[in-house]
């Protein structure tokens, strides 16, 4: 099956005070129709930059896509003219962000922002778009949609705002929804509501979701496949169920083990020693070697590649749990 989105060798960098900083290195992955792919990793690993790179939303300057292709419907999004890119954004590929408060324009009504994509991409009249907005708001579970449509973002609660964001993203029934930490800013109970909503919408609309998150719990709840990133690189790509059961990369393993468990008791939590290498550090061997309890001298000298089959890839010389 042909992937709906194919990222090849994506490298994105930023101009910082101390020189250029590569946030994403040589990243490749595929997203298939109807699939939910989670990109996980800790802060600074490049997952959000990946999401923004796909829609070419990297602020330039200081950011820039240095290399790589992003294939969508046989077109390379990195080479699209601005006008054509605009037609993709919000129409075929939509995106929701982490902070529903700051991601909505405070001076326009929710309805107007929902209608925006409809008017731009589907040439709807204002009246039709308004009606469509109301039904969209209904479909994301906003109570009193007829009233809410004319309200301003600050008049809504955090959960409602995120629902409105989702309504906005889904307005044109996109093929791909990129959700960048969609629940991080929300309380647990609200997060549960949104996760539930996303799952239902996904089932209903059969779209592909690229889920960016740091929360393994969220990944487990939504994702079919998981791409684990560490320090700008993909280190493991697996089916969700397999990954949680038997992580191949020592980092993934560490990540999973350091989460305090609700179901079991530990006296001491497992932890990955040290911290992520500075983003501008050039490391010869494996970027995780310094923190890896399995690391051998070999690891520090030889850079591992992301290897494996279509369903399972890992970037480690001594991958775990590989039979």
């Amino acid at each position: 099956m042909k992937p709906i989105l194919k990222v090849e060798n994506l490298t994105t960098s930023f101009q910082g005070e101390e020189g250029r900083v590569t946030a994403v290195r040589n990243l490749s992955f595929e997203l298939h129709k109807g699939e939910t792919l989670a990109v996980v990793g800790e802060s600074g690993c490049g997952k959000s930059v990946t999401a923004l790179s796909i829609l070419n939303l990297i602020p330039n300057p200081p950011g820039k896509i240095d290399n790589g292709c992003i294939w969508f419907e046989d077109r390379d999004l990195t080479r699209l003219r601005k006008r054509d890119m605009r037609k993709v954004r919000g129409n075929q590929i939509a995106m929701i962000f982490q902070e529903p408060m700051t991601s909505l324009n405070p001076v326009f009504t929710v309805g107007r922002q929902v209608m925006d994509s409809l008017i731009i991409h589907q040439n709807m009249t204002k009246k039709k778009a308004h009606a469509a907005a109301v039904s969209l708001l209904t479909s994301v579970g906003i109570p009193e949609p007829e009233l809410t449509v004319d309200r301003y973002p600050h008049q809504l609660s955090g959960g409602m705002r995120q629902r409105a964001m989702i309504a906005m993203a889904l307005a044109c029934r996109p093929d791909i929804l990129i959700a960048d930490e969609p629940t991080t800013a929300l309380d647990v109970t609200i997060q549960a509501q949104i996760l539930n909503l996303l799952r239902n919408l996904h089932d209903e609309m059969n779209m592909s979701i690229l889920l960016i998150t740091h929360d393994m719990g969220v990944v487990a709840q939504l994702a079919d496949h998981v791409l684990v990133m560490y320090a700008g690189e993909a280190v493991e790509y697996r089916k969700s169920k397999e990954l949680f059961k038997s992580p191949h990369h020592p980092y993934t393993e560490g990540l999973l083990k350091s989460i305090p468990s609700l179901t079991e008791d530990h006296l001491v939590l497992y932890n990955i020693p040290g911290s992520v290498p500075p983003i501008h550090a050039e490391i010869e061997g494996c970027r995780f070697a310094d923190r890896c309890s399995y690391a051998q001298p070999y690891c520090r000298e030889h850079k591992p590649e992301l290897e494996g089959d279509r369903e399972s890839k890992v970037r480690c010389h001594f991958a775990l749990n590989v039979t």
Binding site: M160, A192, M216, N271
Partner: protein
């Protein structure tokens, strides 16, 4: 066991000036809570944002003035206004660890100076002694002592939080209020800090008041846990008891809402609906009735009291469902 800290009917109300009103309204951030922390234990305070957990913690170290109620530390009331000497005395016993490892350290001081500062304030030791103490503290929290001359911005988030811990330990307190100390950290670093805190608890003979929104973290660290909702404690129990038998519908829903890192254990229950009401105008009766799927008529008018569950004095719940026949209908204030 000796009670170290007793909080009795603590209320903290903040005036807020709404643009549309002349008279200030009050945010009832903390609205009458009771709990006790015993020596050597870790007491958890959980709840969602705006439930009043941080305010409670700040009231204990006098960063906010309580509007009503008492707080006893070692039998002495510390909620009343204090002279500076008393304040310093309290500071030596109760310390605080902040949530944000970035803003909690003065960016213009070296790490050594930051950790040394409490010692200077309290006049402990001469310069040489202080230097040694600082070195020991830094080592204890897992930092190299020779980094004392570095500035905070040269450290990672986890390391900064270690510095914050070192500063809190400098005065050798008995109780440390930890306000979401790991919520700004990545999972791998979070685990490091949690382990560190556990280690230090033993070596420094500490008690913790651990404030967090993360139930898993609380469960890992705490002995007893209070669940807060809208400025009130709705359930207070030992860790085992609470997680095995969450009795308040809110605690139950909170627990159910946590996505487990296990694809096999998908959430099936319908999530809790709606949002937390505004603490400026809390609903009458049970604060949770607006979202509670079990709510019945009484819940809307009568506020449930925090009472032992099934006679278990260590497991308190404030819910009419759990205490169908207790209490009288309280008059509702207009």
């Amino acid at each position: 066991m000796n009670p170290l800290l007793e909080v009795k009917q603590l209320k903290v109300h903040f005036p807020v000036r709404l643009k549309s009103q002349f008279r200030p309204a009050y945010v009832r951030a903390v609205d009458g809570i009771d709990f006790t922390i015993y020596k050597g234990e870790t007491f958890g305070l959980v709840g969602e944002s705006g439930c009043g957990k941080t305010t409670t913690g700040k009231a204990i170290v006098k960063l906010v003035e309580p509007s009503a109620g008492r707080i006893f530390y070692d039998g002495k009331d510390i909620a009343r206004p204090m002279k500076r000497a008393e304040r310093k005395e309290l500071a030596r016993n109760v310390q605080f660890i902040f949530q944000d490892p970035f803003s909690s350290l003065d960016p213009r001081l070296t790490v050594g100076k930051i950790v040394e500062e409490p010692l200077i304030i309290h006049g402990l030791g001469d310069a040489e002694e202080r230097r040694k103490t600082v070195a020991k503290l830094l080592t204890d929290v897992g930092l190299s002592a020779d980094r004392a001359q570095s500035f905070p911005h040269e450290f990672s988030g986890g390391q900064r939080q270690r510095i914050g811990v070192a500063r809190a330990l400098a005065l050798n307190p008995s109780l440390i209020v930890c306000d979401e100390p790991v919520s700004a950290l990545d999972v791998s670093v979070q685990a490091q800090i949690l382990n560190l805190m556990k280690t230090l608890q033993d070596s420094y003979n500490l008690s913790y008041l651990f404030i967090s929104h993360n139930l898993a973290v609380v469960k890992h660290l705490c002995d007893r846990i209070a669940v807060m909702y809208l400025g009130k404690i709705v359930e207070l129990a030992g860790k085992q008891s609470l997680f095995e038998k969450p009795s308040h519908p809110y605690a139950e829903a909170l627990l159910a809402a946590i996505p487990l890192p296990d694809p096999e254990a998908l959430m099936h229950d319908e999530p809790l609906e709606g949002d937390m009401p505004s603490p400026i105008k809390p609903p009458p009766g049970c604060p949770f009735h607006t979202r509670c799927k079990y709510a019945f008529a009484r819940c809307r008018i009568d506020e449930p009291q925090l009472l032992p569950l099934d006679g278990d004095a260590d497991h308190l719940v404030a819910c009419h469902l759990c205490h169908p026949d207790t209490g009288t209908i309280h008059k509702i204030k207009k």
